[in-house]
Each structure stands twice: as structure tokens, then as C-alpha cells.
Amino acid sequence: METPTNPKQRSLVTGLVILGLIIVIFFGLRTVRAFREFRGHRPAPPFASEHIETDVSLIRDWMTIPFISKMYHVPSSILFEALEIQPHKNREKSLRQLNEEYYPQAEGIVLEKVKATILANQPQPTPVIPDTPVVP
């Protein structure tokens, strides 16, 4: 039977406390940093299905052309045209896969081209009509 002064037990308890402290400090700092970044952003209005994304920095290389097209409301045909790639058999490929297949010598070029095309072709925001008449 194990006695309360069992050195194995003592090592286990000490180990758990030290491990717990290390994890708390490590993730605590990361949580604070993530919270600071997170706090600076506001969510889109709830249930705003017509919300059009405009920030191209959110485009990632795991995304596909149809996905980006839907996200930014830019027709996928324009994006494929800009990349000089046929949509057939390429609709389900990520930007990274397209880059590796069609532009193996130029890393990241597909991502950059897509961002530039989105910026050039985004739908114009609806102009806001002023409430009061403009006095000439």
C-alpha cells in the first residue's frame, strides 16, 4: 500500500502543479493577446445575409474561387479570367493548389492576383442620400 510520504506521489503532485502553472502562463499570455486583437473588431450586424465583405486581407490560400466569389460578390468568371485559368476542374481547388499547378515558379501570385481583381471589381457601395435637401 502507498504511504502518504510516497516520493512517487510527491513527484506526481509537484509535476502537476508545475505543468499547470506553465500551461496557465503560456496560454494566459496568448489569451490576453488574442483578446486585444479580438476586441478591436466588431461583428457584422446579426442575420445580415447581404453583408458584402470588402477587406481583401481576409483572403486565405485555402479558399476556393467560388467561395471568394460568394464572399466578395465578384463573379467567379472574372477571377478565373484574371488568373488565365479555365473554371472547369478548377472550381474545387484552393488558391494554393492553383498556384502550385499553374504558377509553380511564382509563389503566392494567385493570392495576390485574386486580391487585386477583387479590389478592382468590387460592387460599388450604394450612395447614401442625405436626409436634408442640399441648399444651392
Binding site: 500500500m1 502507498e2 504511504t3 502518504p4 510520504t5 506521489q9 510527491r10 506526481l12 503532485v13 509537484t14 509535476g15 502537476l16 502543479v17 505543468l19 499547470g20 502553472l21 506553465i22 500551461i23 496557465v24 502562463i25 503560456f26 496560454f27 494566459g28 496568448r30 489569451t31 493577446r33 488574442a34 483578446f35 486583437e37 479580438f38 473588431h41 461583428p43 457584422a44 446579426p46 445575409s49 453583408h51 465583405e53 477587406d55 481576409l58 486565405r60 490560400d61 485555402w62 479558399m63 476556393t64 467561395f67 460568394k70 464572399m71 474545387e92 484552393s94 494554393r96
Partner: protein, 202 residues
């Protein structure tokens, strides 16, 4: 989480999402919580049908949990033969059984890193399968609605939420380990004090 998996979810939708959650529940490291947040965001962007994705995801993860419970159940004899005579193991088993419901529920969404170990322990501890399923389903439902809801709310900015939630999960895990360590240390100290009191003075 692998970017490849995210690409597959946006390509093939809810069924792939459900399969991935099933694998995650079996212990495959796919970053299931991040996937649920992403799925919520994809729903807000009109890529996934949220009620369908949430339902299939819930079915997938609960089946995965049931299977890992089963693994624990069938390993029970081996564990009993190996550790059954140890008073420490018996005490840990009793403590777990007394708080099993809470442990199962909380590890579904708060300390997700411990979900699979808890499934195995629950299977091996003699807890009834029906009881496990009730707490498991409730916990997984909370997980999908809470994490998916955050993804839905933040839409294309879901990566920020995911970063925060992942680190927060790690922090909670650390606090749990620290808490268990402190609890064991106090229990050990009490035990030593009791032993010293029983020893007659010379």
C-alpha cells in the same frame, strides 16, 4: 487545423463537416472547435446550411463519442486487471463516478482537450451508456451552438474568434491541471497530518 480540411468543408459542406467531427471525437487531431467556429462563419456567408450542418455535426460527434466510450468499455477488463487492486485507482474511479455527469458535460465545450480521455475513462468506469449519452449530447449541443454561434456572429473575421477560443481553452486546461495538482497536494498533506496524529508519542 489543416487548411486542406477547410477547403473540403467549403467544397462538400455539411456531410464532410460531420465526418470530421466524428474523427475528432475519436481523438484524431483535426482541431474540431476551430472547425465548428469556421462552419458557423461559412453559414453566415451562405456556404453552409447551418441547421443541417449543426444537426449532422452533432450526430457525427455523438457517434464518435459513443465509439470512444465503447473502446473504454472493452478495455475495462484489462484496466481492472492492471490497476484494479490499487486503492488510488479505486478512489479515483469513485471520485469520477460521483462527478461524471459534470465532467462529461464540461469537457464537451470548456476543456475540450480532455473530451476523449473522459470518454475512455467513462467507458471503463462502469457508468451507464444511457447516462453518458445524455450528458454527452447536451455538452456537444452546447459546443456546436456556442462555438458555431460565435463563428456565425463574426462571419469572415472568425479566425480572430478561433484564436481567442483556442487559447482560452488552453488556459482552462492549465487551470484544471493546476486545480487537480493543488487538490491532490492538500489531500496528501491532510493524509500526512492524520498519519502523524495516529503515531503515539514516545
Amino acid at each position: 487545423m489543416s487548411d486542406f480540411l477547410l477547403t473540403q468543408v467549403i467544397n462538400y459542406g455539411a456531410p464532410v463537416f460531420a465526418i470530421l467531427l466524428f474523427l475528432g471525437a475519436l481523438g484524431v487531431p483535426i482541431g474540431a472547435s476551430v472547425l465548428v467556429i469556421a462552419a458557423g462563419a461559412f453559414s453566415q456567408q451562405g456556404i453552409l446550411d447551418w441547421p443541417l450542418a449543426a444537426f449532422l455535426g452533432l450526430v457525427g460527434v455523438v457517434i464518435g463519442d459513443a465509439l470512444s466510450f465503447g473502446i473504454g468499455y472493452y478495455a475495462k477488463d484489462w484496466v481492472d486487471n492492471r490497476f484494479g487492486k490499487s486503492p488510488a485507482w479505486r478512489s479515483a474511479k469513485e471520485s469520477f463516478e460521483a462527478r461524471a455527469g459534470l465532467a462529461i458535460y464540461l469537457t464537451r465545450f470548456l476543456i475540450t482537450a480532455l473530451a476523449v480521455p473522459i470518454n475512455l475513462i467513462a467507458g471503463g468506469s462502469g457508468i451507464k451508456f444511457r447516462r453518458f449519452m445524455v450528458y454527452d449530447s447536451l455538452g456537444e449541443f452546447t459546443w456546436i451552438i456556442l462555438y458555431g454561434g460565435l463563428g456565425y456572429l463574426f462571419g469572415s473575421q472568425w479566425e480572430l474568434v478561433s484564436e481567442f477560443v483556442s487559447n482560452f481553452g488552453g488556459l482552462i486546461l492549465g487551470l484544471a491541471i493546476l486545480g487537480i495538482g493543488i487538490w491532490l497536494a492538500r489531500r496528501r498533506r491532510r493524509s500526512i497530518e492524520n498519519t502523524n496524529e495516529k503515531v503515539p508519542e514516545a
